[in-house]
Symmetry: D2
Subunit: 127 residues, 4 copies
């Protein structure tokens, strides 16, 4: 079964040694720390910080999922070549309307290297 | 088979009479008219202009697709309740890196009312 | 916007002239004409009758959808190379539990040639 | 982040105590142990052995994925109510054409209880 790679479980040394590999496969949640209850809230998911993932026909990010705790909120499916093999980060913005505080995370599927989790992101929902 | 509803084929009178129905089910492409070749380009897809679509368990927008001519670029799948039944437009931002000029369009699936197309959007790609 | 190709609207002559093109892109519903109410019912969707569709990295069937009238029941997303470029029909079996009579149809996305509809299939649901 | 639940890591006592919960959320691969190289090969994914999962609007299996080692082969998205809340196992058949021996597994998304992995299934590919 695919190894589900998440940032908390990866050994620090392994992470340092294969820094580019881990970086380009790791989805990141980019959003504010606080959201207004019942208002539209933007959540960006971005692949990689310092390194970009290829977008080749046989090696690309095929899916990005946005989770709140155990609930899948939304999922995107990408065709290969969308980023045209250019050095650009794979990126998508979701918009949600939170009622209560959330613990967001993202998962990404690389067509060659399996399933990757982001770090969790606490979002406080206030009136 | 599902009627594929597109803005060009809908009769003007029908469109006026059921203005809210057509508006809230119609995806819209929101982006610049011109893109730089090989640079990241943001494409927003938004449901409805003046009316918002429900986000109930049995009646919600389950999918939004982004097309360039005959090519499906990306597709999003939404869980019900993502917008929490609030009066907010369903919305998503895709990022693509164009090489040549594009003719973008979007399709949306409503779980009760079938498959909807947006108007086409020409995007000129320049150096 | 993508032309939505459905078997009813295609001109007979065009269909004959480009027989292989139309055949390999057309999804077909394969199921019984009658279903038992509340019992599991198998619905196969098959691409092409006499011709098989390529499964290359840049030209493959990326999605198959199953519809009942205006309702999307299920959708499959395929990775390229699943059929390994072999001369095999792309195929999937869904299982549904009908309550009332259905009008089933399928849609398929080819990564090069857009969106295709199957013929509709009436299924009578009996006790 | 969602706990990824896989059958190898679950404690035996926990598994026994919450037998119905674990059973109905666990996807199972049903296929032959041996496949012919270059021939179509059927792989069924089935949710639960002894217990069936609900198919309610707010609690249903929204996705089933088929993996070969680290590669996502195909993914299905389901609408709620497909099984009509009946006591039937969620089920789907994929067809693949293997070239070399495979290690298949499935993942399933429950809209309330996260992400579940099946046991792995070795399939020997012979001429």
């Amino acid at each position: 079964m695919p190894r589900v790679i998440n940032p908390v479980e990866i050994d620090a040394l392994e992470k340092e040694t294969h820094k580019d590999y881990f970086d380009r496969h790791s989805p990141h949640i980019v959003c504010d720390n606080t959201a207004e209850r019942g208002k539209k809230f933007k959540v960006k998911v971005l692949m990689g910080n310092d390194y970009t993932h290829p977008d080749d026909a046989d090696h690309y990010i095929s899916n990005i999922q946005l989770w709140n705790r155990e609930t899948l909120i939304a999922q995107a499916q990408f065709s290969p070549g969308m980023m045209s093999n250019n050095p650009e980060h794979v990126e998508i913005d979701f918009y949600i309307v939170p009622k209560v505080s959330m613990n967001l995370s993202a998962m990404a599927v690389c067509t060659k290297h399996g399933l990757w989790q982001s770090e969790s992101r606490e979002v406080k929902v206030v009136d």
